[in-house]
Structure formats: C-alpha cells, structure tokens
Symmetry: D2
Subunit: 411 residues, 4 copies
Amino acid sequence: MRFHEQVEVHGHLMDTGVLARVLDDVLAYGGDYRVDKIDLGRTHDDESHAVVTVGAESASRLARILMRVQVHGVNKLVPGEARMCVADADGVFPEDFYSTTNLETVVHLDGQWVPVEHPEMDCGLIVSGGRVRTVPVADVRAGDVIVCGIDGVKVVLPVSDHSTRLHGEFASMSTFSSTAAQPQAVLVKAIARQIREVKAEGYQVLWVAGRAVVSTGASRALTALVEAGYVDVLFGGNALATLDLERALFGSALGLGSPHSRRVQRGNEQHIRTVNTIRRAGSIRAAVESGLVTKGVMHAMVKAGKSFVLVGSVRDDGPLPDVHTDVVAGQRAMRAALRGVGFTVMVATTLHSVATGNILPASVPVACVDTNPSIVSGLTDRTSAQALGVVADAGLFLEQLATELVPDYRT
Amino acid sequence: MRFHEQVEVHGHLMDTGVLARVLDDVLAYGGDYRVDKIDLGRTHDDESHAVVTVGAESASRLARILMRVQVHGVNKLVPGEARMCVADADGVFPEDFYSTTNLETVVHLDGQWVPVEHPEMDCGLIVSGGRVRTVPVADVRAGDVIVCGIDGVKVVLPVSDHSTRLHGEFASMSTFSSTAAQPQAVLVKAIARQIREVKAEGYQVLWVAGRAVVSTGASRALTALVEAGYVDVLFGGNALATLDLERALFGSALGLGSPHSRRVQRGNEQHIRTVNTIRRAGSIRAAVESGLVTKGVMHAMVKAGKSFVLVGSVRDDGPLPDVHTDVVAGQRAMRAALRGVGFTVMVATTLHSVATGNILPASVPVACVDTNPSIVSGLTDRTSAQALGVVADAGLFLEQLATELVPDYRT
Amino acid sequence: MRFHEQVEVHGHLMDTGVLARVLDDVLAYGGDYRVDKIDLGRTHDDESHAVVTVGAESASRLARILMRVQVHGVNKLVPGEARMCVADADGVFPEDFYSTTNLETVVHLDGQWVPVEHPEMDCGLIVSGGRVRTVPVADVRAGDVIVCGIDGVKVVLPVSDHSTRLHGEFASMSTFSSTAAQPQAVLVKAIARQIREVKAEGYQVLWVAGRAVVSTGASRALTALVEAGYVDVLFGGNALATLDLERALFGSALGLGSPHSRRVQRGNEQHIRTVNTIRRAGSIRAAVESGLVTKGVMHAMVKAGKSFVLVGSVRDDGPLPDVHTDVVAGQRAMRAALRGVGFTVMVATTLHSVATGNILPASVPVACVDTNPSIVSGLTDRTSAQALGVVADAGLFLEQLATELVPDYRT
Amino acid sequence: MRFHEQVEVHGHLMDTGVLARVLDDVLAYGGDYRVDKIDLGRTHDDESHAVVTVGAESASRLARILMRVQVHGVNKLVPGEARMCVADADGVFPEDFYSTTNLETVVHLDGQWVPVEHPEMDCGLIVSGGRVRTVPVADVRAGDVIVCGIDGVKVVLPVSDHSTRLHGEFASMSTFSSTAAQPQAVLVKAIARQIREVKAEGYQVLWVAGRAVVSTGASRALTALVEAGYVDVLFGGNALATLDLERALFGSALGLGSPHSRRVQRGNEQHIRTVNTIRRAGSIRAAVESGLVTKGVMHAMVKAGKSFVLVGSVRDDGPLPDVHTDVVAGQRAMRAALRGVGFTVMVATTLHSVATGNILPASVPVACVDTNPSIVSGLTDRTSAQALGVVADAGLFLEQLATELVPDYRT
C-alpha cells in the first residue's frame, strides 16, 4: 500500500470488540492494516491501547478510511493541523469534507484543540471566529469555511466525565440485549431513577413519542408525567398530536385502539375534522387557550409551558398548523430544542426516534421502548453511548413509569 | 345436490359474521346452500335466527359438512337420534365418528338430551351407562361405543348463562383486536377484576406460563400471586421450572435475560447441573421439602399445596423428574387438572397455550398475554368464547397484575 | 332520537360483515338504529339490500354518523341535493364540510349526478364550473365552494365495472389473510399475471419501494423490471435512492445488508458523501446523464424516461436534491403522478405505502409485500378494495417476480 | 483467590470477541482473572493466542468456571489426566460431572488423547472400553463410568479441517446478521451450492421443517427436492405430517393457509379425521404402500426410502402413529439419524430446530430460515459454528431453492 498512517485507540478493546470492527472496516473500504502495538492491561478494569498502521492505494481512500474508523474512536497518532476549504455552492460540501461522528470531537486550529459545538453525526464542520460547529449539508452556504480531510480532527470516546454523571445502574443495564427476555420491571425502575437524577442536576428530559402512546390509553400516564415536570421537550408527529386532540375534542369513539381498529378504513371523518378544527383555531396553543381543548397530553404541555416540535411526514392528513411540513426545517427546530437535554426517552415511534438519534450527541443517554425487538436494538445500536432498550408496550411502560415517578398516581 | 338437510343457527348473526363463515365453509367442502329464512331482529339487542338448506353430492360429504359447520353453532333443524358404532381397534375411531367442538354439546339418546361431559374439541364422543363424554383418539379402546355421524348431536353457543357470570367489562373488552395499539393498563385492571370475581365464586384460576416469566424477572410477581392464592393450577414446560429452580439454586448468573443472552451458547452447564440436582433429589417437591430449594415460583407452588403439570418437549434438556416426557400422558394430566377451573391466564408460551386451548371448553374465559401480536390473535381466535388478548411483555404485565391484586406488593 | 334518516346499502352483506360494522359505528358515534328491511338473497351469488333508520340527538351528529357510515358504502335512501358553503380561510374547511371516502362518489348538483374526479379519502369536495373534485385541507383556499353535510352525496361500492377488469384469480386471492402461512409462490404468480394484464390494457404500474429493496440485493431484479417496462412510476424516500446511488458510486462496502449492518453507527461517511456528490451534480438525472451514475434502479428509471417521486422524512440525511423536503408538496407531486395508474405494488416500506394508500382511489388494486404480518394486514385493510397482502421479504419476492415477468432474467 | 488455574485459547480473538466473553463469564460466575500473555498477530490472517489465569474461592467453583469457559474453546494450559466417577443412580450424573459442549472434544485417558464420539452439548461423558462418548442425563445408568471435573478434557475450536470442506462463500455469508435487510436471493444460491457440494462429498442433508412448509404451498417444492435426492433425513412434528397427509387425502379445503386461516376454530374435523385414517392404516408407510396416500412430502419420502423422525408435542392432536409421543425417545431417534449428516436446513419451526441444534455437533453447518428475525438469530447463535440465517418465508425460499437445485422445476 502506497499511502499509510498510524492510528491509535484507547478503551476497553476486548470488551467492546471495537478493534475487530476497526480492522473489518479497513478491509471493507479496500485498505489494509498492521497491528503495531497492543496493550490490553491485565485485569478487568485496565484500559487498553492499540496502535495500528492503516494503508491504502490512494491518499483520498486513506482519508476516507480514517474518517470511517473514527466512528469507533480511532484517531491519527499524529493528528496534525486541520485543513480548511471554502464551500463553493449553497447546500454542497467541498469534495473531501470531513464527515462527522456524534462523538465529542476536537479540532486542531492554530495549535489549539478547539471543541466542536454540539456534536452530530453525518455533518460537516464549519469554522468561524475561532469556533467550530457541526453543519448539516442542507445548511452549508457558499463561502462557509469547512474542515476538509481528517488532519487535525480527533474524537473522544465517551468514557470519562459523562459516565460518572450516569446512574451506575443505568449504565450497567445498557448492556442488556434487546429481547423480550428482559427484566422489564427492573429496567423501568432504573429509568425512573435516572430521570430523577438527571432532573436534579438541572438537565432537561426529552421525550420522543409515537401515536401508540395515545392509542394504548397511556395519555393519562404521560399527562401525569408532564404535569409532574418530567417532560421538558416533546418530539413527535402529526398523528400523535391529532389523536390526542381528537380524544380531547370527541372522545375515543373511533380512534385507533378501539375494537374497530383493524377494520377497513376508507376515510376517517373524525380525524380530519379534528385537524380542521385546530387549523381553524390557528394553533394547538390557541385551541388550548381558547378553552376548545381541555385535556390530554398536548393540553398539559401547553399549560406547563413546555416546548414541543412536531414534524410532518408524507402520510400525514392535514396536517395540524403546528406541524413542520418541511422536514429540513423540522430538523432545525429539533436541533434548537436539544440544548440542555440530559436524557431522552423514545417510546413507540421508529421514524421520530431515528430522526432524534441522528442529531443527538453520543453523550446523551437514551431509553428506547418498543414492542418490536428489532426496532429496539436498531435504535440502541445507532444512537447514544448509553442506550437502554426496553422491549415493552407503551401502555404498561408509561403506567409503570408514572407509578414510579408521580406521587399518588395510582390513587 | 342429491343429499340435503335443513340447519339452523341462533345468535347475533350480523355482529359476528358467523353466517358468512358457515356459508363459506359449505362451499369449501364442496357443498351448496340456500337460505330459507332469516330473521335479524330490528335493534342491536335482538337475537337473530336463520334456517339454511345445505346440500352435497353424497351422504358422507353432507355429514362432514354438517359437523364442520357445527363449530359455528349450527345445528340440524330436526336433529334426530344419535347413532352409535363400536370401535374396532385401540386408538382408532370408527370411520364416520362424530368429531367434537369445544362448545357445550348435547346428545339425543333414547329420547333424552344428554349433556356431554367436559366438552373438548377434536375428540370423539363415548357413550357409556347413559352418559356421554369426550375421548381423544389416543384413548379410545376397542369395544368403546362411539357416536357416529351428526344425527342427534346439538351444540349450544356460549351466550346465555355463562356470560352473565362474566364481568361485563371483560366480556366487552374481548372484542378488542390484538394489536400493539391497545389500552393495556385498562386491560390488566379488567383481568384483575375478573380473577377476583372468579375466585369469589369458588372457581379456580389456571395459569399457563412460559420461561419468559422467569427470564423477564417476573418470578417475584408470579410468586406473590401464588402466595396470595391467585394461582390454583400451573401448566408449563421443563424450561420454566428449570430456569426458576436454577435461579433458586445458583442465582441468575448466566440465565436467559442476562446481558449474555444473545451470545453463542455451545452448552450451559448451570442449566443441566440444575436438572441433575433435582433429578438426584427425586422431584421438585422433594427438593423443596429437603430445604434445597428455598425460593421462586415452584417453591411457592409446593408450599401453597397447589398443583402443577409440566409437560416435556423435544427441545428439553434432562428433563426434570416432574416433567411428563410422554406428551399424550401429559395431555391426560392436564385434562385431569382442569376440573373447577373458571379462568385461564396464558403468559409468554405458544406451545403450552395452544395445548391448553385444545382441551379447554369454550365456556372458560381466557386472557392471553404475549409480545407478538400474531401469537395473541392466533390464541384468542382458537380458544375460548371469551378470550382477551393482551399484546404486552410478561414482565410488565405480571408486575402490573401483582400491583392490582396483591396488597402491599409494591412496598 | 329526535333526528333520523333512512339509509340503504347493497352488496354481499353477509360475506363482508359490512352491516355489523355500520351498526357498530352508529352506536360508537352515539346514535341508534332500526333495521327496516333486509333482503339477503338465497344463494351465494345473490346481492343483498338493507334499509336502516339511523337516529341521533342532534342534526349535526346525525350528519356525522351518515358521513362515517358512507365508508361502508351506505347512502341516504333519499339523497337530496348537495349543499355548498364558501371556505372563509386558506387551508381550512367550513365547519360541516363533507369528508370524503376513497370510493367512487357522485354529487347531486342541479338535478344531475356529477362524478367526483379522483376519489381520495379524508378530503373535501370542491365544486367549480359544474365539476366536483377532491381537495385536501391544506389546499383549500378562501372563496372555494365546498360541499357541506351529507345531502346529495352518494358513494358506489367497487363491485361492478372495475372488478371485471381484475384478473379473477387476483380478486379471489385478496381474501387471503395476511399471515406467514400463505402460498407465497402462488401469490407472486398471480401478481405477475395481474401486472401483465393491466399493462396490456394500457394502464400504468405504480411501485412504492423501501430501502430494503436495495439492501436485500433486490436492485438487480427491480432494475430488470424497470428495463422490461413494468415500473411506470416509482414512489419512495431519500434512503431508497441514496442507498441505490451509494452502491452505484462506491459499491456496497458498508451499506445496510452488509455483515456490519447491526453494528454501532455513529456516522456513515459514505452515505452522506453520496448525498453530497449528487447535490453537487444538481439532480439524479444530471448525475446519470453526466455519466457519474451508471447502474442501479434510479439509473434505469432515468434511462427509461419513467417518473419517480421522492418525498423526504424527518430522519433523512441530506437529502438528495430530488427529494421533496416539504411533505405537503410531496403529496401533491404524488397525486399528480397517479393518473393512469391501474395497479400498485408496495414493497418494504410502511411510511410511503400508507402515504400512497391515503391518496389512491379504492378502485386501484394493490399488492402489499412486507415481512411483518401486522404491516401487511394494516396496509391491505386501509387501501384498495382489491388488496393482496404478501408476507414475504423483498429480496425473494422481487427475484421471483422478475423470474416470472422478465424473459431470460435467470440466465 | 485461593484456587487458580492457567487457561489458554487460540484463534481469531479480536474478530470474534471471544476473549471478552470468556472474561465476562469468569466474573459472572464469581471468579477473577489476570491476562498473562496475549499475542494477537499483526495482520488479518494471523491467529492469536492468549493465556489467562482464572481464580475462584473454592475448587468446585473454579471447576465450574473452567467448564463454562470451555464453550468458548478455552482449555487448561496443563490439562492433566481425566478423572472418572461411577454413576450411583439411573438418570442422574455424579455431582461434579463434566458438562459437555458441542465442540470437538478429546479426553486424556492413560496418557492418550481420545476423541469424544458424537459431540453434543449439555451431556456427560461416558467412558467404556477405552472409548468416550456423550450421554444425555436421561440415558445414564447406575454403574456407568462418567468423566468428572475438567481435568484431562480439551475442546477444539472448529477452524481447521471441517471449514475447508465448507464452500468458502457459505462460510463468509454466515457472518451476515439476521435481519430483513439481507441479500436473500444471494443467500439461497449459496445454500444451493453448499448442498450440492456436501452431497458430492457423500454427506447427507438433514431437513428440519415446520408445518408452514405445507401451509405456504411449498410442499410442491419440497417434494421436488426429496425426489431429486436433496432430502436424506427429515425431522418434524405431528402438524407437518398431518397437514401434508390431509392435503393428500382431502385437498386443501380448510387447512391453514386458506382464506379461512384466521377464523375461529372450535374444532377441525378434517384434521382429526386425517389422523384417524392414518392410525387405522397403521403407519404413514402403510398408508403410502396401500395407495391411500398418493402425493405430498411424506409420500415422496417413503417412496424414496428416506428416513424421517417425527416427535410429538403437547399441542398435538392424535397424534399420527409414526410420531414419538415420548420426547426423550424422540430425541434418541433423532440422534440415531444424525450419522453421516453434513448439512442441515431448518425451515419454519422453532421447536424442532432448537431440538436439533441441541444434539448437533458444532461441526455441521446449518442454514436457518424463518420470517421472524429474532428466531433466526436465536437459532444461528446457538447451534453450528457455521450457521447462516435467512429471514424469509418458507414459501419463496423453497420455491427459489427448488428452482436452483431441481432441473426443469419451473417448467
């Protein structure tokens, strides 16, 4: 191989199997490697350290390999200085832009290691006024200064400071595999403790919820959690809010979860009438403040002054006036709502959970709840460094969590 | 069609779609029909009544059609007298034996309508000393007198007396379709009320449980339910009991549900050592009485003097000495334990739930709990006339049910 | 009940259970009913006819009940003349707008029955120049003339002319329930025959495809179907097109479906680099025409001059320049592409399949393919009057379909 | 730790993560460890080697730890001589019996390394006449000489000779994770090639099949594979054979897979009548030879003189006379049929697949096919060292495989 570079990785290499993945990725990208040095420690708590030489046939392929393996926390042994290019068009990165991970990242600029603000995966890095922040491709503008290549960029594996903030029990449980054979009741208690602790430290709790929260009758539990202050931000879609408002306006007559739910539907007048009524009111907030909507999850969020971001999808009816119909604008609104978030609960939605995972830093712990084991493991694998998957239905999960967190919930 | 017969059916024909199924089944068996009379009533509570002529090319085909449609509660308009044949070999019915449903059934013998004892589907009817009872094919003996053909056999749809015993709420909830979009917390409360009521009326509660009950950490909840007297009979397999005993003997080190559960297993010494230890003790009861086993579900069952039937399967290790290795003998033991059962809860096992559904009369209400919607709807469709499916994980379901039924469970 | 109205319904009432649903819906909406007349016919092929009086406590509730039950094909016995109101704001219907079904619908205007153009569920009806067409709530403008209430609106159950166009076998198979226990190979052959026939009659075939089509390696089969002329329109999302283009640009190194697919991903530089490359090119078409992209499904669509509509979602990276980021604009583009479509195949995408089902008339037959039985039955229940669900993986389904339809595919 | 022992492991330690699992298992059993030496090699193809000291508080705990980690291929550095005890009761092992893995194993007896005959997990080792073979706990008899403790027992990881027999492509594909996002068509081709190769080398092909093979209409494909000589042994249950025979006797009228499959069943006269008919005939073979059964899978097996083992379960109706009702006897019959098997295909049955996995040596490659990803990954994790999971429905899988393997199948 004509081009090569030494890289290093720290951490519990044996435990995590990370080195095997690094080496596989190198081969998959058409590169090659040689393990130069490996120190695994002798006991369970020892950290390990490896140095590997990675080679490729071209400099550009080598650069791509080095970016790829950074998702595993692998850095160049001699990082060098960051190289910058200027974007030549709106919405397009320079050819060899540095593609980010969601790990804590630092960039070597003028001899200083500058931390990247709000780490987010699959973005570029924009440099401006001595600061570095992530920028998604849709938001780059001609003239922006973008980090190119791998030089001068280091990632930090999320081991040290953040994990001490984590409830030890939660951290250890995140190693549970996501199968139906989990001690769910124990997991719910661990999540409750984690939420209490995160709130006590002044962080916010973000919820990402699907419509099953309403259709499983868990609105009562979620509403209680909102009122008790355990829901600071809510991400969801048009269906969640519409079903919740439909129940507030009309009762549950023909909603999902009724005995009718599997029957043929060639139209749902109650659903679209709900949307129309809120459109006429102008917004969910207006509908609450005018007294039109007097109960439910959205009502509680408005009354508690908490923020929610609803982003549309192609299957939406209407949608509600509060829904971002432009998904890129919706992503921007979600990013803006992430500041201060110290814990995330994802319940019964794949679409919005993946979307949230895409923009969350790896340092924020996540609990993912779904009845489908494949969805749970997909979500926990992709997102946080501390992700706890729970294979459970939204209904009993929220009932149990409210019982743990909200005094007098069961009375 | 050369051969034909008038049949009739009563009940909420429009609601249940039963007439459509009857007519479909007639066509599927190669017969034909003509609707002679139909009275649907005018309001929701009116019962309906239909008379249909069914035709076929041969008498034997006509007889088979008439037996088939009896699963829908359809009887001959003029039933006639029962015809009997003598079995000519052990374990074999006469050629044209009457094949049973699990509905209440009466047989016309010497001008009297004799009720069938313990209705069970897919059996024959044995007549002896003026009484009629179901007999599975494996248990028929040469010389037994068996009802043949459809003449003189009527089934009774489970509407009248039993349903009044049912908690009204439970009955209405059994119309919920089995999807993840159910109000699970409400369903659990309804099941709790139903169990309390059934116990108050002196009936027994049968549980059919899979090993996930242990691996989800729900042993504590199930043990509490046993101690509180809500588990009179337990059906299960070798895995349920072995996992429970393994935890009692060794703790949960490497059982399912541990972080290791998805890893490669080329052997499980702790599991097989548990089996061997109980085999050495002679039985589960002996292991409990000798003080070897001091906790867990099986321990609680023995201490409470309740009965359990464990039936083996081809994937068992060992098995435990209490396990019926002959499945036909196991079915007999299960049948013997059904007397007095007024409610059945099936949790996290397809194999034993189907087996139980096969031998239960349609008059016993059932709650089926599983994380897989297809399994839940399969079970509720097959078994009781009052089956409530809950798509939920065993862990949260049992935690919730114990919270409802067992005082001070959560403290 | 103070307000009441006679309604009627034709069709195979016993077979379809439709009358039970109608009566249930009336009760669920708080109304009441009385069956005035029912004629079920005597044999299997006879049509039935029922007249029912529906009552409610208020005129507005009665109107809503009547709209609701129209999804089952139930019309007022004396329809009367349509009533119209003027929309008073953009994007909001008048309070008592008529909410559409996706059935063929006619509106009584000035003594004439005017057919509704492009039936679509959950829309309003706009009247202009003596014509009537559906309009979604987002597209209504102040001043538009909108049909209000149920008077003068009749739906037609999809029995007569269209079904004769359907391959008889396909029609009969659409009664198969969507379980894993289906004769899949037979179903694929029926779909192939149906596609050939629909094309022969000059209709177009619409495909709705998820990214699993690429990740299961079925691109080769789908590409062959495009080249053979069996894919006239393609609906999908950013992931489908990006994965397809990623394979065209970089091979399949680290895409989904590789041995790596379940591993931790904290970023995917190849995926986002693909998006950036196409954004630089300006469009998928430009990337194909410039020779940058030389293979794959999107390449084949461009080369064949076929149209595709890609609509974004909140979880998208990028997205590609061709993707509609505004979902309402995306829905409009999808509607515009539906003209001439006579058959729809939905493969391995819930989001886009539901979105397509939302805007399709009930008269277009649909085949839904997914590995998850719940998704398949959900889709087939909601959409077409002739929907065939196939529980199968995209890979083998497309391989099999290409083998049936494309000469020399297997060689 | 008072008791300790040095162990060693060879192989691709980084790739497989095996060392991490070993160390985890040591801790989970309450032991401790120290890594004494580790040599990972420098390039991808280099083997690695590690020496670890394992400690525990008691000799018996240490012995159990050492047995446990042998499932990962870890042996004592200084194995010593095997120790033997005499079983003191039928069906019970001595207290500290050696619990087997399914790996190739050798036992040090009188200074010789004696290979264990037919490796099978969760058994004991019986020594007799200088030979060593596995014995399940149910089959041990008082007086049998059983290996106790870990001394003198070594396992061999399945890398060397057998894997060379494997089609290289198959081996590499077995690293695919079992998700719906697999290149199924490619996997089927690889399985076809593997079957051809294994047959060419004189090995037998074992099939384990569930009833979905019949209910998906795949009987035709499986029958063709039997006739073409690709099914040497068939394992299954009562349902598979009964459904197959029911179709042969009566056609498919009301079997699963018909439009009726999800409907209420309170009895199935056709099913039980089939069982009764075969019971009257005496056996499946007798029913075939007498001309009663003239088609289907079982007919083809009998005609081709191939062997099948049907083992009963508690949910069986009947069962058929050929079904082993005693599951331990059934396991013995399955073991006896394994000789000469070089490849196993498991299709659409969890129960019988797990049962087969329990008794198969790790050296036999396996292909597992099911629509449920959780089942596929559970099976592939547990059984062979070379297991390829395919998430697909039985119907299209078998159609595709028959197309590959049977000349003129599609014509």
